[in-house]
């Protein structure tokens, strides 16, 4: 797969040499993803997203060749900072794409403040405070965040599914906090209940859920589960084995392709589980279908998932934004990227999942998808699109100052008594 990248780069280089008028100059772009540790598979899909965008633009933007330099972290903030610092200070990248995970994003935002002449664009990190509180003027997020991803799910659970009382099971760090907040805020505003005592927080990599399953209360209508990757598979299969009967509500990466495509015995448990997120596998829209077709063309049989994950999607959108803005400023970064950042701030473009633009704190406003797990025609589990919530902002239409009063995301916010 990477050899292929090398070849295309080489081909581009040969072309550049053959026709010197095309590109006299190159722009260095850094791509940071978790290529090691627990999130290595999502990280690789993120890099695939960057490559799809570069391919679409023929590795050229604003008349200049784009040179991609990859960095790797292991999802810890410290490693993300070390990799970012290497890309910025040693390799001299002027545009950074990344990172992938929530707490990494918070760290990179803080680092961005010390490098005002470098433009930082998010990967898929989706913690709320990366842009909501104390944002960095040169950090952009076109990929939205975890609370936005939940848009429509709280209302759906209350109004359509008629759930009144839920238990919560989630991993114990900033991204699931953001997701739980995004789900519970509208759910509880409508009158739903989720007692703080019925919220279970497990560390990443937890393998044995028997004690959690035993402690789940009987008097709830459903369980909201925000676990990712192997954690989700472990819980879902153990819950099915234990004969769990309660319906589930899923976080954005709890019932996505990385989990549904697994070999775990989860079929009975997950069918009918509603969820929400920035993408929907089966969305019947030409833009999304073209994106999926392109993904399959580039990566089918080369390690790619059956369908692009939200990580490929997020990195793709962020990279595409950078390239579009570079086209607008004709690749001119001689002013330390000032013009580029102005172009990014006012950028509005069609993504595979609809129109994307930024709010004043440089966080994306985009369409969100409400989905439900169904058995596809070929027996595979897929997420069927139930609805699209148009143009969701980080504050859900509430005024910024008002929204701040909701308080930072945490294990107990909202209290939901």
């Amino acid at each position: 797969m990477l050899k292929c990248a090398g070849k295309t780069l080489l081909a581009a280089a040969v072309l550049a040499v053959a026709s010197p008028a095309v590109a006299q100059d190159t722009i260095k772009m850094g791509g940071l993803a978790t290529l090691e540790g627990a999130f290595a598979a999502p990280g690789q899909d993120g890099i695939r997203g960057i490559r799809m965008a570069l391919e679409e633009f023929n590795h050229t933007a604003g008349g200049k060749k784009i040179e991609l330099i990859t960095g790797s972290s292991d999802a810890s903030p410290a490693s993300a900072i070390r990799a970012t610092r290497k890309l910025v200070e040693q390799d001299g990248v002027q545009i950074m794409i990344g990172p992938l995970s929530g707490s990494e994003g918070l760290a990179v935002k803080d680092y961005a403040k010390t490098k005002p002449n470098v433009t930082f664009i998010n990967g898929t990190s989706a913690a709320q405070d990366t842009t909501l509180r104390k944002p960095a003027p040169n950090f952009f997020r076109f990929s939205t965040e975890g609370a936005q991803w939940m848009a429509g799910l709280g209302e759906y659970a209350y109004k359509v599914k008629k759930y009144r009382k839920v238990a919560v099971l989630a991993e114990d760090y900033s991204f699931p906090y953001t997701q739980v907040f995004g789900f519970l805020e509208p759910f509880c505003r409508l009158g739903g209940k989720a007692s703080v005592n019925a919220r279970f927080w497990v560390p990443i990599g937890n393998k044995d859920y028997s004690s959690v399953i035993a402690a789940l209360p009987d008097d709830v209508d459903a369980i909201y589960v925000a676990l990712g990757g192997a954690d989700a598979i472990n819980f879902l299969s153990q819950y099915q084995q234990a004969g769990g009967e309660l319906p589930l509500i899923g976080g954005s990466i709890t019932v996505d392709q990385t989990v549904l495509g697994s070999k775990g015995k989860i079929r009975k448990t997950v069918i009918g589980t509603p969820s929400a997120g920035p993408i929907s596998d089966t969305w019947d829209d030409p833009r999304w279908k073209a994106f999926v077709a392109q993904y399959k063309k580039m990566f089918a049989g080369k390690g790619g998932f059956p369908s692009p994950s939200l990580f490929a999607h997020g990195y793709y959108i962020n990279t595409k934004a950078a390239l579009l803005a570079l086209n607008q400023v004709k690749g001119d970064l001689s002013d330390g990227g000032k013009k580029l950042r102005a172009a990014l701030s006012s950028l509005k473009f069609e993504s595979p999942t609809g129109m994307v633009s930024l709010d004043p704190r440089r966080n994306a406003i985009a369409d969100m998808f409400l989905t439900e797990v169904v058995e596809g025609p070929d027996g595979n589990l897929v997420n069927k699109t139930i609805g699209v919530t148009k143009q969701v902002s980080q504050t859900f239409g509430v005024k910024y100052e008002e929204f701040l009063k909701y308080g930072p995301v945490s294990r107990t916010n909202p209290p939901c008594k």
């Binding site: 990477l2 790797s72 903030p77 900072i81 290497k86 200070e89 803080d110 560390p203 990443i204």
Partner: protein
């Protein structure tokens, strides 16, 4: 393993010109190196080297391989965040920086002493197992404790003070700070090896039964060694939290614990310069292996490089250097090696247990 340092009166002023050259290079380094090389390569190598130095001291002089040195450094880093100021809104008691630093280092030294008290009655592989168990337990504890250690997220926004008009996290001042501390502990360990305590520790290492028969308290000797090692690791931990600006459980995880062992072993445990050589090799590989090979396989390069070093030079980079040196300057060096063979390679009973 360590003997008394050979006398160096062969050199003018008693200083080896190579040492002088190294010192000049280290002091002049920020003048020609970029900020990245000064900070992320230079200063970070010095910090990791100092933590590994505390392990080299325990293992090389005391025969006690403690895997909990990163834990001790991490504890100091956590104390800095808990007692000082952080931007997370958990703990952060706001003590003045100088008090925080002193308490953090002392706290780390006490933790190290405590670990020593548990581990010092064991030998060889059992010491490794006990200290590894402590390190892993500490990792899970900080990851799951939210009241004090703020769990998975840990702390951010920990800054060094601005003193004498300098912000001490700027690359050049921070490098010199790390260099001064590393040099201080390097010399302290070198000098300490020749002190009564250092000689006693080496005697404990070589033959604890005989030392006990002489009326020396072996247990106490070992615990005091752990205390000193704790001071070294704790001070490096303070630098580490200033370097990162943050601390989270990942920093005391098993990966980092093993990294410190790798640094010490690859550098060579024969002399206090070893861990610094190991740290430089480690940091360079960690940063640049990704440029050498397929982006998704660079950890394999790091692993292979270390495997090769250990395979071809069981005593690490230090041994590799000594071997090259002996080839270049055969007569004098071989004479020296002869001296060393007479002096250091006498293995008393029980020595097979030590690393």
């Amino acid at each position: 393993m360590f003997g008394i340092e050979r006398n160096s009166s062969r050199y003018p002023l008693g200083i080896n010109p190579a040492v002088l050259l190294a010192a000049v290079f280290l002091i002049a380094y920020p003048l020609f190196a970029s900020d990245f090389f000064t900070f992320q390569i230079g200063a970070y190598s010095l910090i990791l080297g100092t933590i590994a130095l505390s392990l080299t001291m325990l293992a090389g002089y005391g025969g006690m391989v403690s895997l909990a040195q990163m834990t001790v450094a991490g504890f100091a880093a956590y104390l800095m965040a808990i007692l000082g100021t952080n931007s997370v809104g958990v703990m952060g008691l706001g003590w003045p920086w100088w008090l925080t630093v002193v308490i953090a280092i002392l706290g780390a030294a006490l933790l190290s002493t405590f670990i020593g008290a548990i581990a010092a009655r064991t030998e060889g592989i059992y010491t490794i197992m006990i200290t590894l168990a402590i390190a892993v337990a500490f990792f899970y504890f900080v990851r799951q404790n939210y009241q004090i250690f703020n769990g998975f997220t840990g702390f951010a926004g920990i800054k060094p003070p601005t003193l004498f008009g300098l912000y001490w996290r700027d690359p050049t001042p921070f490098y010199y700070l790390a260099l001064a501390i590393a040099a201080f502990f390097f010399l302290a360990v070198r000098y300490g090896a020749r002190s009564t305590f250092g000689l006693g520790l080496q005697a404990v290492r070589d033959n604890p039964r005989r030392v006990r028969a002489l009326g020396i308290n072996v247990f106490l000797h070992r615990i005091v060694a752990y205390f000193y090692a704790g001071i070294i690791a704790g001070t490096a931990g303070v630098l580490l939290v200033w370097f990162n600006g943050r601390v989270s459980p990942g920093i005391v995880g098993v990966d980092m614990v093993i990294d410190i062992l790798v640094i010490a072993v690859v550098g060579g445990m024969r002399a206090p310069i070893g861990p610094f050589l190991g740290a430089i090799a480690f940091v360079l590989l960690e940063n640049f292996a990704i440029d050498l090979i397929d982006r998704e396989r660079f950890n394999t390069v790091i692993g292979l490089a270390f495997l090769l070093v250990v395979l071809f030079s069981p005593d690490g980079l230090l041994g590799l250097w000594r071997r090259i040196e002996s080839k270049i300057r055969l007569p004098r060096a071989s004479a020296r090696l002869g001296v060393r063979a007479n002096r250091g390679d006498w293995h008393p009973a029980g020595s097979s247990e030590r690393m």
